[in-house]
């Protein structure tokens, strides 16, 4: 298939305000009406979006030196521990970290009302956060204890660095047992009462570029309401699992590691949330533009909820025990209808990942590009694709 346009040509059109940009939802109707060849000629960029819980998220901070200077070896932000095994005043705050004083699941199911993700949201919202630090003290960094308050604007560098975001497809979680389960997929009522899923489906970034032809290292994107980049492929990136005839994964597959300046972001798109009996996580908003370089990239973006399948997995036995068994497949169109059939029973569904927020992100990114505020980047390197042989390993306990 022939090339239709280059990144440079697309960016030239963007800078002139002439680029034709549509969302991954809008492109579906266009392809149905005009066919892929004709639509690919007309459209320059398709925007995607997703807004859901992404546990493998966090932020690096350089807190700045107090007087006298301090080599902070233990650091807490609003009582939440931040990892300080870095240079003197650098720390990493993980989204799922909870305060040492949180009873966790000792009183099951734990509420997990506050954690690292909430600290990130509070900082981005401009709130004051309590900073406590301890050190053993050195000749160059004599201070041993510190208690103060900080705001995001007081911190030198603050950047989100999420090791695993944008899961390409995910399990549909159900519960075959006779007790309620409290999981990272929400509350699963006994005896197949509900099925929870978590993907924006046809709007989800990696569903629209299934073999990572345009999304790669260096891709500029919408992250938490600001601008971010693909830093690397994400942890647990698993591109070589089963795929359908269009090349779309049938199970959890690719992931992305993302980075971006926290100071540009908005609390609306970075929300600390609490999963009963499980823990704290961060809801992250991500939107990725896909340049229509040729008809093949266009066909990737035209994927529909009725074409994408996800595996139904029992979280009472098969997921925790890693048996690998699934209870069948359902499409995202079925999931979005509110009811699916599992083991001949009708089961109610809940999304966890917000479709209207995903749409809002795709629309926002579209507007940024149309206004010439956001240009596209060609990846500096590709991430491992379906022909890479990269496979997920489990841990052998010796």
């Amino acid at each position: 298939m022939g090339k239709l346009r280059s990144y440079a040509e697309i960016n030239e059109k963007i800078s002139k305000g002439q680029a034709v940009v549509v969302t991954a939802e809008e492109i579906i109707a266009m392809v149905a009406e005009h066919g892929p060849e004709e639509t690919a000629k007309r459209v320059d960029v398709v925007t995607t979006g997703t807004f859901g819980p992404m546990c493998s998220s966090g932020a690096f901070f350089n807190l700045g030196h107090p007087k006298p200077r301090m080599k902070m070896s233990k650091v807490w932000l609003n009582r939440v521990n931040a990892y300080a095994g870095l240079a003197a005043v650098d720390v990493f705050l993980g989204a799922t970290e909870i305060p040492d004083t949180d009873p966790a699941n000792q009183n099951f199911p734990g509420a997990f009302n506050y954690g690292g993700a909430h600290v990130i949201e509070d900082l981005v919202a401009g709130k004051e956060v309590r900073l406590e630090a301890e050190s053993y003290g050195t000749d160059c960094y004599p201070r041993q204890k510190l208690e103060t308050t900080i705001r995001l604007s007081d911190i030198n560098e603050a950047y989100l660095f999420n090791p695993r975001n944008c899961y390409q497809n995910y399990n549909v979680a159900v519960n075959l047992s006779d007790r309620t389960l409290y999981t990272y997929m929400g509350i699963l009522k006994p005896n197949l009462c509900n099925a929870n899923y978590s993907s924006a489906g046809q709007l989800s970034p990696l569903m629209n570029d299934p073999d990572y032809r345009t999304i790669g290292i260096g891709t500029r994107l919408f992250l938490g309401g600001g601008v971010g980049y693909v830093a690397w492929y994400g942890t647990q990136h698993s591109p070589c699992g089963p795929r359908d005839e269009r090349g779309v994964p049938r199970t959890p597959a690719g992931t992305l590691a993302l980075i971006g300046d926290l100071k540009q972001m908005q609390a609306k798109w970075l929300r600390g949330v609490s999963y009963l009996g499980y823990g704290v996580t961060l809801q992250v908003g991500v939107g990725i533009p896909i340049p229509i370089l040729d008809v093949e990239t266009l066909i990737g973006t035209a994927v529909r909820d009725e074409d994408i399948v996800a595996p139904v997995v029992d979280y009472s036995e098969d997921y925790p025990q890693a048996t690998g068994r699934t209870l069948g497949e359902v499409t995202y169109a079925e999931l979005k209808s509110g009811k699916i059939t599992v083991l001949d029973r009708e089961v109610r569904t809940a999304p966890l990942s917000s479709y209207p927020k995903a749409r809002e992100i795709a629309e926002t990114l579209k507007m940024w590009i149309q206004k010439g505020q956001f240009t596209l980047t060609e990846p500096v390197a590709r991430i491992p694709a379906s022909d890479s042989g990269v496979r997920l390993k489990s841990l052998a306990v010796k």
Binding site: G186, I187, C193, R271, V273, Q283, G338, A350, P356
Partner: protein, 138 residues
């Protein structure tokens, strides 16, 4: 007429047989949806009262005269739309369909009239966007 109410019983009167009295003296059918009643402690009950309008009003007057706080149910659970992230986790937990998903928009909606104040949503909501506001009496 049928009306869902939240009744708050001060500790001093919590052991009085109110529901029996409503039935016997005021001809009111009381369908208890939820109750948290303990000796010598303030009690709370979610109840649906069925009666003709006159009996209903006399029954409510009786409860209030004995110090029971009678609150309209639909104001007890508040869904804070601004805080809701539209994840839908509550919609499969809510047993009465008060929290539900509008399709195909996939947005969460709350119908206070269907709420039975079971409070399952309070902790099922990851964003803590549902609140119980029992404090103000009417």
């Amino acid at each position: 007429m049928k009306r869902k109410l939240v009744l708050r019983f001060p500790a001093a009167v919590v052991e009085y047989p109110f529901i029996y009295t409503l039935a016997k003296e005021y001809n009111i059918v009381a369908n208890i949806l939820k109750a948290d009643i303990n000796p010598r402690k303030e009690g709370r009950m979610v109840v649906e009262l069925s009666a003709d309008e006159k009996s209903y009003q006399r029954g409510v007057d009786f409860l209030q005269s004995r110090g029971v706080i009678v609150l309209p149910l639909e104001q007890q659970i508040v869904w804070v739309e601004d805080r809701c992230t539209q994840c839908g986790a509550c919609t499969v937990i809510c047993p009465s369909g008060a929290l539900w998903m509008q399709r195909p928009e996939m947005t969460v909606a709350f119908d206070g009239e269907k709420c039975v104040v079971c409070e399952h949503c309070l902790k099922a909501c990851p964003a803590r966007a549902v609140e119980a506001r029992y404090l103000s009496g009417v």
